[in-house]
């Protein structure tokens, strides 16, 4: 058991390290940009420690430098509202104890959520969440310190293609879950809605709009319920009372947990 955990931890660590390395570089660019925009070092560092949300931090620096602090708060919060549904999905994955949930919540990011939800519910998911959460937090903050100290000497993360690393990593973590038909339909529809809405809506809203795709399974269920004699039509896997429960969305992910790389 112990060795099984150790090997799995090793795999998760290696995967998290790849994203962590990119986060050090982007964190450094945040530190450098913030200091160049006139933010004092203490403010730059406390943003990375206390706020710990890359997108909102870059946005806030821009809006503070432009002289609109209120807009910085509102835009940043709009951008981060997605963490609430992440928390709902993660729930007990942070741990059974209250302090674990209170502390773990601070480490919740898109990447930590994706790493955790890619693992089967239970102890494995919890370990993945904490490993990713703590390591990425350290990587982001180490990067910020580096950027504050090195300033303009920090290179452009765009030249390293790091802006492609994050969406590719997220997509790779999501892919196994998309084997489930319902998840696939909702996720792809949501992604399309968000992309189409991006030129029209302020940052943050397009991503939240993806939740509108949840009407698909809800409507499918209505239709299934309305069908005579419960002749359950195409509802994926007949996910009703028979095998509902925390495990059912995980079956497809267990396959990935066995590590697709071999």
């Amino acid at each position: 058991m112990r060795t099984a955990y150790r090997t799995r931890d090793g795999r998760i660590l290696r995967d998290v390290a790849a994203i962590g390395a990119a986060m050090v570089a982007v964190g450094a660019s945040f530190g450098a940009v913030a200091v160049a925009a006139g933010l004092p070092a203490w403010a730059t560092l406390s943003m990375s420690v206390l706020l710990y949300a890359g997108g909102a931090q870059f946005m806030a620096v821009g809006l503070i430098a432009a002289g609109s602090p209120l807009a910085a708060v509102l835009a940043g919060l709009l951008l981060n509202a997605r963490h609430l549904p992440f928390g709902l999905a993660l729930g007990g994955a942070l741990g059974p104890r209250r302090w674990q949930r209170l502390l773990g919540s601070h480490f919740m990011t898109d990447e930590a959520t994706a790493f955790a939800l890619a693992r089967p519910a239970g102890p494995e998911r919890r370990r993945a969440f904490w490993l990713a959460g703590v390591l990425l937090f350290l990587a982001w903050n180490a990067g910020t310190v580096l950027g504050v100290v090195a300033g303009g000497a920090v290179g452009d993360p765009g030249a390293l293609g790091l802006d492609a690393a994050f969406p590719a990593g997220l997509a790779a973590l999501l892919l196994p879950g998309l084997r489930d038909r319902e998840t696939r339909r909702v996720a792809l529809t949501g992604a399309a809605l968000a992309v189409l809405a991006t030129p029209l809506l302020p940052a943050g809203l397009p991503v939240l709009l993806a939740l509108a795709a949840l009407v698909l399974p809800v409507l499918a269920r209505r239709r299934a319920a309305a069908a005579p004699d419960g002749a359950a039509p195409a509802h994926p896997g007949g996910r009703s009372a028979d095998h509902a429960g925390p495990g059912d969305d995980d079956e497809s992910r267990v396959v990935r947990a066995g590590e697709a790389s071999c």
Binding site: S105, A164, A168, L170, A171, G177, T183, G190, D248
Partner: protein
Amino acid sequence: MLIAVILALATGTYGFRVAGVLLRDRLELPEWSRHLLPVAAAALLAALAATAALTEAGGFAGYARPAGVLVGLVLAWRRAPFVLIVVAAAGTTALLRLLGVA
């Protein structure tokens, strides 16, 4: 002023994060809708990945970035190791930019 902005952002963001985690236990959701929570998270993450891959400041991100992400996707599809997916995506984009593709 600056400290107020940072604290407001930090408190509000932590509020979103912790609210979902703590609500999960108290929310009386019907059984059939509980399994929609991870589906909702998948939709949000897919939307993040798609918008991050294709857009920048409300417009098209240029060709280099989506090309890199596409390479990553193909590798993920072929079940390549995660590290390789991330490195190949970044490498492709970096190389294209080096060659002058925006």
